[in-house]
């Protein structure tokens, strides 16, 4: 039990800490690292809720894929301007108020739906596979088509830039 709580606390800490770094840092590379921390925390959370497959996917897709893309983009964009890229921000206070308001509203509206402490259900990859390849095959195919479309889109966008 304590182990579970510990896992939850650790994941939560990773999420919150990563998010805080993303929000507070002025350094683009440090921000990407903060994002990575957050994504790891998300993966931990999936694990905590019994979705081991999701956690693995999260790590593979995000930490292994998306995060690398981020680093890549940062380096491509800022390779000409020497030195560490610096972030600008504005409307800080207004945006903070709005964001806090949205958070508050989400909490207020969902507070009745949250029951106990621990999740009631857990599942492995097999269950998800059964679900996706069984009843929701169309959804699965659509997701695949979406990913393919995204891939093609990326190629087209970047390729167009290349030709120029």
């Amino acid at each position: 039990m304590t182990l579970t709580i510990l896992a939850f606390a650790l994941s939560g800490l990773l999420m919150a800490g990563g998010a805080a770094v993303v929000a507070l840092t002025r350094d683009l590379m440090r921000m990407v690292i903060g994002l990575g921390t957050f994504l790891l925390g998300v993966a931990g959370m999936f694990l905590f809720y019994g979705q081991a497959f999701l956690a693995t996917a999260q790590v593979f897709v995000y930490v292994g894929g998306v995060l690398v893309l981020f680093v890549f983009a940062v380096m491509v964009v800022h390779r000409s301007s020497g030195g560490r890229p610096v972030l600008e921000s504005r409307h800080d206070i207004g945006a903070a108020v709005i964001a806090l308001g949205v958070s508050g509203m989400v909490i207020l509206s969902l507070q009745d739906s949250v029951g106990g402490w621990l999740p009631a259900s857990a599942s492995g990859g097999a269950a998800i596979a059964t679900e996706l390849l069984g009843g929701h095959l169309v959804v699965f195919e659509l997701l695949g088509a979406l990913l393919l479309a995204a891939l093609v889109a990326v190629l087209v966008i970047v390729g167009a830039g290349e030709r120029r």
Binding site: V22, L28, A99, V102, V106, G115, A120, L147, A150, I157
Partner: protein, 98 residues
């Protein structure tokens, strides 16, 4: 409850980042924060509601895939635009003024 508060606040932080940053990469990072926390919230609430684990997993997977695709396309746009104009700031690139 803790999960709810945590996820909501992280969602808010993501929103804050989206609203304040002038760098498209940072905005995309903010969007990732929002998507991730929303996904966790989805899984957490569905688990509390006693939904079948497989169903939760497949829905969350769908969100995850869409988010990844979105991130990939967004970053490709950033790269492409940066090549074109050497800038990746919102006001120059996402100009919607008439």
């Amino acid at each position: 409850m803790t999960a709810l508060v945590l996820c909501s606040l992280v969602f808010g932080v993501g929103l804050y980042v989206v609203l304040t940053r002038r760098e498209i990469i940072a905005i995309l990072a903010g969007v990732e924060l929002m998507l991730g926390s929303a996904n966790i919230l989805l899984v957490a609430l569905a688990s509390f509601a006693g939904a079948d684990g497989g169903v939760i997993g497949s829905v969350a997977l769908a969100v995850l895939v869409v988010a990844a695709a979105e991130a990939a396309v967004g970053l490709a746009l950033v790269v492409s635009l940066a090549r074109r104009s050497k800038r990746s700031r919102v006001e120059e690139l996402l100009e919607v003024k008439g």
